[in-house]
Symmetry: C2
Subunit: 129 residues, 2 copies
C-alpha cells in the first residue's frame, strides 16, 4: 500500500512535567533524534496560567505537544512521512519525560494512494521527505 | 462528555495550488479567521523540488497543512480546544483555496475526561484556551 506517511496520535494521562517549557522542548528534541527525522524549526509556547505548546516542524511533517497540567494530560501528534520512518520510536522518550500513568494511542496511515491493478505497492517517498 | 477539544483530520485529493507557499499561508490565515481562533505564530516552508508545509500555532492548539503536489494531495489537521470552537468551519476555506475533487475526513475528540458518577458533563475549557 502506497502512502505518504504515518501519523501517531497519543493521549497521555497522569503525567508529570507538563508545565515545563524546558521539558517540552527537550522532549521534542529527543523525539526528533529517536525518530531519525530532520528538524526544520522548533518552538515552545508557555501559556498563562498553565499549559505548554511545543511544535517541531520536520522535513518529514511534524511533532506537536499540547499540555493541560491541570488534567495531567498531554495531546501529542507525531506525523512522519517517508517509508522508513517510525513514529512509535518516540514512545520511550515521552515515557521518560512525562512519566504517564496511561497512554492511549492510534496510528493513522496518511495519504493512501489507491491505484487499480496494483494490489501490493511500496510506500511512496513523500515530496517533503 | 468533558474533553479538551476537537481534532479534524482531513485528506484532500485532486487539489490545485499545492505548490504555492502563498496559497498555503493565506489558507491558514483564513482558516484561523473562519474558526475564530487566536493565532500565535504562522510559518510556511517550501520544499525542493516540490511540496509545502504550513504551520499555524494557536492559543487553541494548531492547524497544519502538508502538501504533495505530485499526488494532488494535502494532509491537513485542525485541532481546536475549547467548547465553542468548530474546526469544520475551515472546510469552505480549504475548498476555495485548493479545489479538492475529494475530501476524506475524520474527527477525533481529544482529551476525554472520564469521571465516575457524572454521566453527562460539559466540555471543559482547556488550559491553553
Amino acid at each position: 500500500m502506497r502512502s505518504v506517511g504515518r501519523h501517531l496520535v497519543l493521549e497521555l494521562w497522569g503525567c508529570r512535567n507538563l508545565n515545563s517549557p524546558d521539558a517540552v522542548e527537550q522532549a521534542l528534541r529527543e523525539v526528533v533524534a529517536a525518530c531519525d527525522v530532520t528538524l526544520l524549526d522548533l518552538r515552545v509556547y508557555p501559556f498563562e496560567p498553565i499549559g505548554v505548546t511545543g511544535v517541531a516542524v520536520l522535513a518529514e511533517s511534524h511533532v506537536n505537544i499540547h499540555t493541560w497540567p491541570e488534567l495531567g494530560y498531554a495531546a501529542i501528534d507525531i506525523f512522519t512521512c517517508g517509508a522508513r520512518k517510525d513514529p512509535t520510536a518516540a514512545l520511550p522518550v515521552l515515557r521518560e519525560f512525562f512519566a504517564p500513568e496511561r497512554i492511549e494511542s492510534m496510528e493513522m496511515t496518511r495519504g493512501i494512494v489507491l491505484r487499480r491493478g496494483t494490489p501490493v505497492e511500496e510506500p511512496v517517498a513523500a515530496g517533503a521527505d
